[in-house]
């Protein structure tokens, strides 16, 4: 999955509004502060707190 660089620059964690970054496997967007990973489903980032997984 690729996320547009410009989009990545404006994205924030919906919970803490802090910085997020692509996971190493590039399969989600991680917030280190909240220890959450927001999944990407069918190329659509799902930035919903209740659908986020715990960051390992």
């Amino acid at each position: 999955m690729t996320i547009d660089k410009e989009l990545l620059e404006i994205l924030a964690c919906p919970k803490c509004k802090g910085k997020i970054k692509l996971t190493e496997k590039k399969d989600g967007l991680a917030c280190e502060r909240c220890r959450l990973v927001y999944p990407v489903k069918d190329d659509i980032p799902v930035m919903l707190v209740d659908e986020a997984a715990a960051l390992k």
């Binding site: 964690c13 509004k17 190329d43 659509i44």
Partner: protein
């Protein structure tokens, strides 16, 4: 109405949404976007983009980010983006009351048929003002409680049905403007008697 219920309702809508609502929603969406002051290079947020009815109206010289709670609806929008090669448009699943963007990320925000379907419309407006830059444009297309006696009666009759499908019809326009703190430059309806208002506002922050 809780978010989970809204998600379920709109997942159910996704397959019939375009056919059912294009006739009612599209003319106002098209009008509002056409009259937005979109400049080359503008970054625009479309809140409640749904199946992407609005997407073909945005000029290609701006970049658009569409958000919606329903991933099922967004799949339809993504299909339209891919089919029409709308490379300037991206869609993401987000809760309009808790948006995942940095402050001042957008030049303009378009919000169509959202504020009456969310649990807290003012929380949405707080987020909209946060992510839109100061002096940016906020354009809203929505139903507000009617002052016309005939429409008021119709609204009262259909209100229980509206509630079931996730809409509230009791949002008062002036109260909404006051509470959301928007600097409204223009507000009007496309027809003399209409269910929907179009608001053009400036984000004074």
């Amino acid at each position: 109405m809780e978010l989970e219920s809204i998600k379920k309702i709109y997942a159910g809508y996704s397959s019939v949404y375009d056919a059912l609502f294009k006739r009612f929603f599209y003319p106002r969406i098209k009008h509002a976007i056409t009259y937005m002051d979109i400049k080359p290079g503008d970054r625009i947020l479309d809140v409640g983009v749904g199946t992407g009815l609005s997407l073909s109206v945005f000029p290609r010289y701006c970049s658009v980010v569409g958000i919606d709670l329903s991933t099922e609806m967004l799949r339809k929008a993504k299909q339209k983006i891919d089919e029409n090669r709308l490379d300037n448009i991206k869609v993401l699943s987000m809760d309009a009351m808790s948006v995942g963007f940095k402050d001042d990320s957008f030049d303009k925000v378009f919000i169509s048929h959202v504020v009456s379907v969310v649990p807290d419309p003012y929380k949405v407006m707080q987020e909209v003002k946060r992510v839109c830059r100061k002096g940016g444009q906020v354009v809203i297309v929505n139903h507000f409680k009617s002052k016309n006696k005939l429409l008021e009666t119709v609204e009262k009759i259909i209100n229980p049905v509206c509630k079931k499908i996730g809409w509230r019809s009791d949002l008062c326009l002036n109260e909404f403007i006051d509470k959301s703190g928007l600097n409204v430059k223009e507000k009007y309806m496309l027809k003399k008697i209409d269910f929907w208002h179009i608001l053009f506002a400036t984000n004074d922050k």
